[in-house]
């Protein structure tokens, strides 16, 4: 760690006005998908006044898809991300189904659900084992050089190995269906382009007992250590907010098809069984100058009061339960943590593990359904509607794709609200909460940096397609005075 003074002017020489508010900047944030930057504003008493989490990359997908045939959309939007391409292709294909104006065949619905199971297993395993377990197993204050997946392999080889294996099992589902583990061109408007073979069905079934064993063992382990994180649970995004998630027709947990449900911070349902195509009636999008990521909010409450959270924690909070027995039992125990909805974002890790268990159970149900092998997997049509909305639960939360096309089928306009976008306001709020708790004066301390990063990681944000699983990116924190001059800079390499 190096410390250097950037300005020639000493702080004693500054006028009173100049020395008042200060900024602390943490950039880049490591072990998340993409590039983020944190700025902390201090007031004249060196108390934290505000904190902002900004996404500094502009990617422009919504703009550059304009003019392309809509049939290419599932594959184009997959390139948004290397971790959750499947979620984007599913949301896109559902928007395209709406443009075709078709109801896709039942086997196609089921086989797409199966694909989403694979996506959830591999992405949640990545988040928990590769990205977050270094904090959880080695401690937030352990040596940063060791605090990565390699450190986990040294400290607890069994956890590390089973995490890698679980991710592989999820990856197999995607690969055996779509022929490619990343960016498969298999989900198409109207369904999918190849049925599941008996051979691959059997190979998937064979891996289920091992996957179940790994996740149940990990859940037991995590429940055993969760008490050690009392402070983090109390301060990591622990505040009242609304929650949004998909539920099925019975109000149960759902990730691929279903209806929107919003609940308030006390657990009351405020909007239920909302067709995702009506999302615009409920969700507004605000733009802030400091970030390329928009800030969606619950429209009836306005901006920024309508802050809501999505993701594993939100899904477990909004649903009435799970339709699979093992996950339902875990869910009941989870919801016992608090009277109303579980509020601390730290519990996202816990919720993620329960969801892995649920999708493995769901995968088994789907694979044992003979219809999963049915070759009737695609509906064909030309453009029948000029507008379509597709919505799925991505591992990180609710994902919306909304397209408008010309009558020839060329894209005219697109709007995508991604999970991390939905969580934007909540992430900002969480960073502020952690900063208020851990930032003392204008000093930049190691525990503070670690926890600010960790609270962001609890949301498993996906800021772009890049992955930094080893956390080797340099971390830069800058302290600025009100005139924007850097008075202190800390660089961690």
């Amino acid at each position: 760690m190096t410390t250097k003074k950037k300005t020639k002017k000493r702080s004693s020489e500054l006028t009173k006005e100049e020395s008042m508010p200060k900024e602390l900047v943490i950039e880049p944030v490591t072990r998340i998908e993409g590039h983020g930057k944190v700025t902390i504003f201090l007031d004249q008493n060196n108390e934290v006044k505000d904190a902002r989490f900004a996404v500094t990359q502009f990617r422009g997908f919504e703009r550059f898809v304009e003019g392309r045939p809509f049939t290419e959309m599932p594959s184009i939007v997959e390139r948004i991300c290397g971790i959750c391409p499947v979620s984007h292709s599913l949301a896109a294909s559902k928007a395209c189904d709406a443009i075709l104006g078709v109801r896709i065949p039942n086997p196609a619905i089921k086989i797409r659900r199966l694909l989403n199971c694979g996506e959830f297993i591999q992405s949640h395993a990545l988040s928990f084992f590769h990205l977050s377990s270094p904090d959880l197993l080695l401690g937030f204050d352990s040596n940063p050089a060791e605090r990565n997946i390699v450190g986990v392999i040294k400290a607890n080889p069994e956890i590390a190995k089973s995490g890698i294996r679980l991710r592989q099992i999820g990856g197999h589902i995607v690969e055996w269906l779509g022929k490619k583990r990343v960016h498969p061109a298999w989900v198409v408007p109207g369904g999918v382009n190849e049925p599941l073979s008996v051979e691959h069905r059997d190979m998937m079934l064979k891996e289920i007992p091992e996957a179940l064993e790994i996740i149940q063992k990990t859940l037991r382990f995590f429940k055993g250590i969760i008490e050690d994180f009392r402070n983090e649970i109390r301060t990591f995004g622990n505040f009242p907010s609304m929650f949004l998630g998909l539920v099925d027709a019975n109000g149960n947990w759902e990730i691929t098809d279903g209806y929107l449900r919003f609940i308030d911070s006390r657990g009351h349902i405020v909007a239920d069984m909302v067709e995702p195509s009506r999302y615009k009636e409920f969700i507004g999008e605000a733009v802030e100058e400091f970030s390329y990521l928009k800030s969606p909010y619950y429209k009836p409450l306005g901006y920024p009061k309508g802050m809501y959270r999505v993701g594993p924690l939100a899904r477990l909070n909004v649903c009435n339960g799970f339709s699979t027995p093992l996950a339902n039992r875990e869910w009941a125990e989870f919801r016992d943590l608090e009277r109303g909805p579980v509020l601390s974002s730290f519990y996202n890790h816990y919720a993620r593990l329960i969801e892995i268990l649920a999708v493995i159970e769901l995968e088994e149900q789907l694979l044992n359904d003979p219809e999963i092998l049915d070759p009737h997997i695609r509906a064909h049509a030309s453009v029948n509607e000029l507008e379509g909305v597709g919505c799925v639960e991505a591992p990180r939360g609710t994902l919306f794709h909304h397209y408008r096309v010309s009558k020839e089928g060329l894209m005219q306009w697109a709007n995508m609200i991604v999970a991390t976008g939905n969580n934007n306001l909540a992430i900002n709020q969480s960073v502020l909460q952690v900063a208020q708790h851990y930032v003392k004066g204008d000093e930049i301390t190691e525990p503070m940096i670690n926890r600010i990063e960790a609270v962001i990681r609890a949301y498993d944000p996906c800021l772009s397609c890049s992955t930094h699983a080893l956390g080797k990116m340099p971390l830069q924190i800058t302290l600025k005075d009100c005139a924007g001059r850097i008075i202190k800079e800390v660089v961690r390499t």
Binding site: P69, E72, I76, A185, P189, N193
Partner: protein
């Protein structure tokens, strides 16, 4: 008498050090392929007239001051041809690189990904990157036809669609306008495809197109497989009748 005439037209030549024989109305490319000697092509297609436009099939003929396209050069007695020297391969890579730089070829999201001749040739010739700066032109997509899409971003101006439409279908709906890199394949007198009076909707142009420039509507990424086997057969049947 006829047989004697044909025998007298047999020419012997050397291609890449190998002694080969061919009829005098055959091109170097044909004779090379009959003898399993690889020469890359893009605008050539069995069943269509030779055009000599893409220059990928250039070869060196001993005694000639410049490289010649093997698809339009007839074999002659005693020729010595080199098809794959280092220089020639570099020229071919340059030609392909220019094609990539000239339009917007994004394989990963193309309907023809995995079934594209341009992509296959780039892999075959070992092109790992393009040294020329990309032009990124703003090219239109014509989706006005009920069944087909023309995406000029992916067109390499090989002229196969133009020739098949004129020579085999007899419609001559497609042609090329402009010069140099501003050239573009057009429909009729630069009308939208969907409004063409001459297009019979046969789809031959789509299937002879080497890239994803012409495709069937509704195909998703990597789904557009082209069927070209019909062409030499069609031609033979026409010649017989």
């Amino acid at each position: 008498m006829m047989i004697a005439k044909k025998i007298s037209q047999i020419q012997t030549l050397i291609i890449d050090g190998k002694e080969v024989g061919g009829r005098s109305d055959e091109t170097i490319l044909q004779v090379a392929r009959e003898n399993d000697i690889f020469i890359p092509t893009l605008c050539h297609l069995d069943g269509l007239s030779e055009y000599g436009g893409c220059r990928l099939c250039i070869v060196h003929v001993k005694g000639l001051p410049r490289l010649v396209p093997s698809c339009t050069t007839l074999v002659r007695e005693g020729m010595e041809v080199t098809t794959n020297s280092e220089d020639i391969i570099e020229y071919r890579k340059g030609i392909l690189s220019l094609l990539f730089a000239e339009r917007n070829h994004v394989c990963s999201v193309c309907v023809s990904n995995g079934h594209c001749e341009l992509q296959w040739l780039a892999l075959k010739l070992g092109i790992t990157h393009v040294e020329f700066p990309y032009i990124y032109p703003k090219m239109p997509v014509d989706a006005t036809h009920d069944r087909f899409i023309a995406d000029h971003n992916r067109c390499v101006l090989c002229g196969r669609c133009v020739r098949v439409c004129h020579e085999v279908e007899g419609a001559h709906t497609k042609d090329v306008m402009g010069r140099g890199i501003t050239s573009r394949v057009i429909t009729d007198l630069m009308n939208n495809w969907g409004e063409s009076n001459t297009c019979t909707g046969c789809g031959k142009c789509v299937h002879v197109c080497p890239t994803g420039a012409l495709s069937e509507k509704g195909k998703s990424v990597a789904e557009m497989e082209k069927r070209r086997q019909f062409l030499p057969y069609l031609k033979r049947m026409r010649e017989r009748s």
